[in-house]
C-alpha cells in the first residue's frame, strides 16, 4: 500500500514523542546553564600550572625547561627563564619561569604539553566558561592566572593526580636516599682523608692512575 512506509515512520516518531515523557533515555537534552552534566574525569580544556604548598609562586613545579614551549603545535606558550634559582620539591636548586604565558585563544587543547613535561608541572583544566569581551589581553593567561594548587588538581582529576603524587613521592624518596647516600659517602671519604692525614705517611700515587 502506498504510504505504508510513511505511516510506519510516523509510528516510530510517535513512540519517541510519547516515550520522552516516561523514559529519561529518550529525553536527552538538559537546560544549560541551569542544569549541567558533570564533566568526564578525563575532560580537558586548557592547561594550568600546578603548585605545591601554600604560595603559588614558591610552589610552582615548573622548572622552565621549555620542552612544552618547543613541542606545542601552535606555539602558544611563552616562557622566560629566571636568572636565580629556587628549591624544587625535592630541595634541589632549579631555575623557575619568571614569565609563563599561554595564549588560550591559540591553544587547541591538545594536551601535548602535558604529555611531554617531565616534571608533572602542567596539567589540563576542566574549566570551560572562559568567555571574555577583551579579545587580546583577556585570553592571554599569565603565570599567576595559570597557577592552580595541587588540591585543585586532585579535585578535578582525582585518579590521575593520585598517580602523579605517588610518582613524585617515589622520586622524592629516591632523591633523598641518594642525597643521604651521597652525604654518607662524603662523610666517609672525609673521615678516610682525615685518617690518612693523621697517618702522615707520604705516599706515591700508583702509576697509571688518572
Amino acid at each position: 500500500m502506498l504510504g505504508e512506509g510513511i505511516i510506519k515512520g510516523m509510528l516510530e516518531t510517535a513512540k519517541n514523542f510519547a516515550g520522552s515523557f516516561v523514559s529519561a533515555d529518550r529525553l536527552t537534552t538538559v537546560e544549560y546553564p541551569e542544569q549541567r552534566i558533570p564533566t568526564a574525569e578525563n575532560a580537558r580544556v586548557f592547561p594550568f600550572l600546578v603548585y605545591d604548598g601554600a604560595g603559588w609562586e614558591a610552589g610552582l613545579r615548573c622548572v622552565a625547561c621549555q620542552i612544552c614551549e618547543k613541542e606545542c603545535p601552535p606555539k602558544c606558550i611563552y616562557i622566560e627563564k629566571s636568572k636565580d634559582k629556587k628549591p624544587d620539591f625535592v630541595g634541589k636548586m632549579q631555575i623557575y619561569p619568571v614569565r609563563f604565558d599561554i595564549d588560550i585563544s591559540v591553544c587547541m587543547s591538545c594536551q601535548i604539553c602535558v604529555e611531554v613535561c617531565p616534571f608533572e608541572a602542567i596539567k589540563m583544566d576542566t574549566q570551560f566558561e572562559l568567555a571574555t569581551d577583551d579579545r587580546f589581553g583577556g585570553l592571554l593567561m599569565d603565570r599567576q592566572q595559570l597557577a592552580k594548587s595541587n588540591e585543585y588538581y586532585h579535585s578535578i582529576h582525582p585518579a590521575e593526580a593520585a598517580e602523579v603524587d605517588a610518582r613524585l613521592a617515589q622520586e622524592k624518596t629516591a632523591a633523598e636516599a641518594k642525597a643521604k647516600a651521597a652525604a654518607e659517602a662524603a662523610a666517609a671519604k672525609a673521615a678516610a682523608d682525615a685518617a690518612k692525614a693523621a697517618a702522615a705517611k707520604p705516599e706515591t700515587p700508583a702509576a697509571g692512575g688518572n
Binding site: L2, G3, E4, G5, I6, K8, G9, L11, E12, T13, N16, R26, T28, A40, E41, N42, A43, R44, I67, E71, C72, P73, M108, S109, C110, Q111, I112, E115, V116, M124
Partner: protein, 390 residues
Amino acid sequence: MSLLDTKPEHIEGWNRPPVIEPDGEGELLEVAMGPHHPSTHGVFRMDVALDGERVVRLKPVFGYLHRNHEKIAEGTTYLASMPYTDRLDYFCSLSNNWAYALAVEKLVGQEVPERAQYIRVILAELTRIQNHASTIGFLLQEMGASGTPLMYAFREREKILDLFESLTGSRMMCNYMRFGGCRVDVSGPWLAATRKVVAGLPAFVDEFEALLSSNEILMARCQGVGVLKPALAVNASISGPMLRASGVNYDIRKVDHYGIYDRFKFRVPLGDHGDIYDRYMVRVLEMRESIGILNQALKEIPGGPIMDPKAKLRGFRPKAGEAYGRIEAPKGELGFYLISDGSPNPYRYRVRPPSLINLTVLEDMCLGQNVADVVLIFGSVDIVLGEVDR
C-alpha cells in the same frame, strides 16, 4: 569567466562527463549554489548552469577553508601534527589519528601492541557508526525531513561521543593515538559502558530503518537519482561507501588487513544501482557490520601494554625514506604519504582526502538531473569541508 562561456568538451575514450545540449528553448541560467547555502555542509560553492530545472553544467569551487595543513605539518614535528589531523574530518578524528599513526609506523617500522590494536578497532568502528548515522541524518535534512532523523542520529552519536570524552578527554578533537600505540589505557568501567552502548545500537539502527528505509518519499527522491557506474567509480578513484554502493567490492579493511581486521568476521555490503538509495542502504548495513566487529573486539580484547616500550615521544626522528599508509575511513580511503629526510620534521606530508576525491564525479552524477536533486546527490557523497580544503 562565466560557466556558460566555457566550452564543454567530450573526448572519446576519456572518462569525462557527457555533454548535455540545451533544448534551445529559453535562456540558460547560471546559479552559484553556496558558499553559504544550507546544503553545502560548510563553505563550498557549486556553479551550476541550468536549462529550466535541468543541470547542464556543474563546477565545484573549493578552497574557502584552505589553511594549508600540509605546509603547517612540514614545519613542525611528527607528533605535533597529530592534533591537527583531528581537524581534517572533524566528525572522525579517531580514524584520522589512526591513518596518520599507521603511515608513520610504516615509515619507521614500528610495531603496535595487541591491546592497542583492539582499542583502535573499537574506536574506529564507533566512529564509523556515528559518522554514518549523522550522514544519513544530514541527507534526510536536505530532503526536507527537517530535524527528526538528524536528531535521532545525534542522540545516538551523543552516547558515542560521551565514550570518546571519558576516554580521550575530548568529544571531537580526540588526539588519542600515538606512533606505536595509544595515549591512555581503557579502563574496566569504560569497556563496560561501551558494551552497554553497543548493546543498544542494533535497536537504534532498527528504529532508524523503520523510520526511513521504506518511506515512499525517500524512495521516490533517491531511487534512480545520481547514478554512478562502477567503471567510472573505479577510474575516478572513488572510495568508501560510495564506491561500494556502485557494486565494487573494495574495502581496505579486507584488502590491506591493516591493524588486526583479518581477525574479525564481517561482510562488505554492496549496492546494485549506484544511486542515492544504495548509498543510504550501504551505510545502514555498514553500521550493522560495525556493530558485529565491535561485539567481537569487545569480547576478545586482551590485557597488556598499550604502547610499544621502544616508541619514542620526544626526539622522534625517522630515518630517510618514504611511506604511504591508508585506512578505510568512514568517508573513504584516507591516506597519508610521508617523506622523511632524517630530520624531526617530515620533508613531505600529504593527506589523501577522500572527501575531495569523491567529489570528482559530482558533475557526472548531476548532469541532466533537476536542480533540487543536486542537493541530495551532494549530500549522499558525504563530505566534510575541513578535509576537502585542508
